[in-house]
């Protein structure tokens, strides 16, 4: 902090603007000038657009079977061909985008909310509550997450919704850890002390001062995690503990088509490529975001 006291008004100005504060527009501009982040965010944007508009653009009903047109290769008529039941793969991919993307975002959002609440209160209040929260996160981190997710999915009956719940349960402790560490650092700042001295309530301090300043690493981690969660959900569906056939979920589609890899490559490969491109996009965007938000990280 500055050693010579600034005039009150000037200090207030600094406080209001913050040293490195940038507008949203500036943030987007910076994001797009970083090549990795730009490619990543454009791809993520593309997939989100498909998730929203895909079902409208789908040429056919994704569940409609055409047994006389099974396993037809990609052609001008059916761009991505058909699967073993004659269903149009393009239409199924377009519908599946919505499931995978909303699933990934929902799980991460739930995990971020739970983890942030637990972590920020643990770091801010400390004491017994802190110990308790940290030990509980220890337990959840030690759990074999995929096995726990499988068990939860199995006892609640395998479905996409239950897989979402199961994965969220295993994912929140990372955020609790992360935000607690940030909170411990941020709460030592003078502006927190100042807010305290001004008589601001604890909740107000957490909401106005701690969270906004502690959130950057959570944002980076969350972006990277959307990809990892999408992979996990697809994996659960692949072994039968997530979305169930005939749902046009990408993991299910790879599983359905696995025996055709040699002969009709497009049946399992196209959904796998869809997963790869979406997850890669999330990882690129997350990497780029980290470069932007964390000046210490070395590219």
């Amino acid at each position: 902090m500055a050693s010579t006291p600034l005039p009150i008004t000037q200090e207030a100005d600094l406080l209001r603007e913050g040293a490195g504060a940038v507008t949203w527009l500036e943030g987007v501009r910076r994001l797009l000038t970083n090549p990795t982040a730009a490619v990543g965010s454009i791809l993520v944007g593309f997939w989100i657009l498909i998730a929203i508009a895909g079902p409208l653009a789908a040429p056919q009903n994704p569940y409609m079977q055409h047994l006389d047109a099974r396993l037809t290769p990609p052609s001008a008529l059916q761009w991505l061909g058909t699967d073993s039941l004659g269903r149009d793969i393009l239409s199924r991919l377009l519908y599946g985008a919505r499931l995978s993307i909303s699933g990934g975002f929902a799980v991460v959002a739930a995990a971020v909310v739970i983890g942030t609440l637990a972590g920020v209160t643990a770091g801010f209040f400390g004491g017994v509550w802190d110990d308790l929260v940290m030990r509980v996160t220890d337990m959840f981190l030690a759990f074999p997450s995929l096995i726990l997710a499988m068990a939860i999915a199995a006892v609640l009956h395998p479905s996409l919704t239950n897989a979402l719940i199961a994965v969220a349960v295993t994912w929140w402790p990372t955020y609790a850890r992360l935000i607690r560490g940030q909170t411990l650092a941020v709460k030592e700042n003078q502006y927190v002390e100042a807010a305290c001295a001004l008589g601001m309530g604890k909740i107000g301090i957490i909401a106005r001062h701690i969270l906004p300043n502690a959130f950057a690493p959570v944002l980076v981690q969350a972006t990277l995690d959307v990809g990892a969660v999408i992979l996990t959900l697809a994996g659960l569906s692949f072994i039968g503990f997530g979305a169930q056939p005939p749902t046009p979920e990408w993991g299910v589609m790879v599983s359905d088509g696995r025996s055709f890899l040699q002969t009709q490559w497009w049946v399992p490969t196209l959904p796998a490529l869809a997963i790869l491109s979406l997850v890669l996009a999330c990882n690129l965007a997350g990497d780029g975001l980290r470069d932007l938000l964390d000046p210490r990280s070395e590219r």
Binding site: F143, M150, A151, I152, G240, G251, Q262, P268, S297, E298
Partner: protein, 335 residues
Amino acid sequence: MFLQFVARRLMLMLLVLFGITLITFVVSHVVPADPVAAYVGSQAPQGVVEKVRHEYGLDQPLPEQYLVYLGGLLRGDLGTSIHDDRPVATDIATYFPATFELAMAAMVIAIVLGLPIGVIVATRKDKLVDHMARALSLTGVSLPVFFLALLLLAVFYVKLGVLPGPGELSPYTQPPPRVTGMMLVDTLLAGDLPAFQDAFSHLVLPAFVLGFATTGIIVRMTRSSMIEALRQDFVRTARAKGVGRYRVVVVHALRNAMIPTVTVIGLAFGSLLSGAVLTETIFSWPGLGRYATESVVTLDIPAIMGVTIVAAFTYSVVNLVVDVAYALLDPRITY
């Protein structure tokens, strides 16, 4: 001081393990699904259902069931599998070595590939190799592992025929007498070289698939900590003194860059053990992951609990070892 640190970590670990048994127990007993009904079938008369329920102690109050379970746990008794009627501990002892061998092999592949690549790209930052390695490691963490497995099987087993298909051994190979349960070790102990070669070639694909994502992680970690280390003053001093480039990179920088890498390796090993589920399913690998899948499908609750506890225990032990190794590697760390 050091012993105190280890003792405190051990205490914490016991606490965590206790919590895990509690969570697993609650999750598996306060569930709508009825394992007894799943076991005896829906057509079984009520008397049979009650008898089975009593046999497995499932008619006792929950806290009592938990205490009985905990008591057994302390004696190394994980209960009896509802599915195959064998002690869960025996089942796990049967399946664990295969998973351990697979995870070890995956780790070896990940380290042997990841560490040198990470060092090389760190010395050629922003050159072509660096970008290629980054693309590869990003793909590694983005590719669905189940598709990679299918793809490699299709290419190396079906198309080229250079590697064998799923399983631990070819159907024509006589399995060696079981000593450790790890195929490579057992075939060597039996002095059966052809069987060893067979086991080795069966291990290559699943280990590569399981280690692929970890390789990417190790490359990234090594790269960033090497770049950091290469910028330090002692590296510049060594260079100024005329120390050879190879010696500077390997002896001076790498040794200091190893600490974060060791952490990542340790953590990755813990997750490899539980992450083997998908790989084992696809490669018909007779390990813990496949046992877990089967237990989940049959709602075999003692087995699910056993696998979860063993996996959590392994993870915690590995974590402890990493922490201790960390403290030993870096003299600056105080306990």
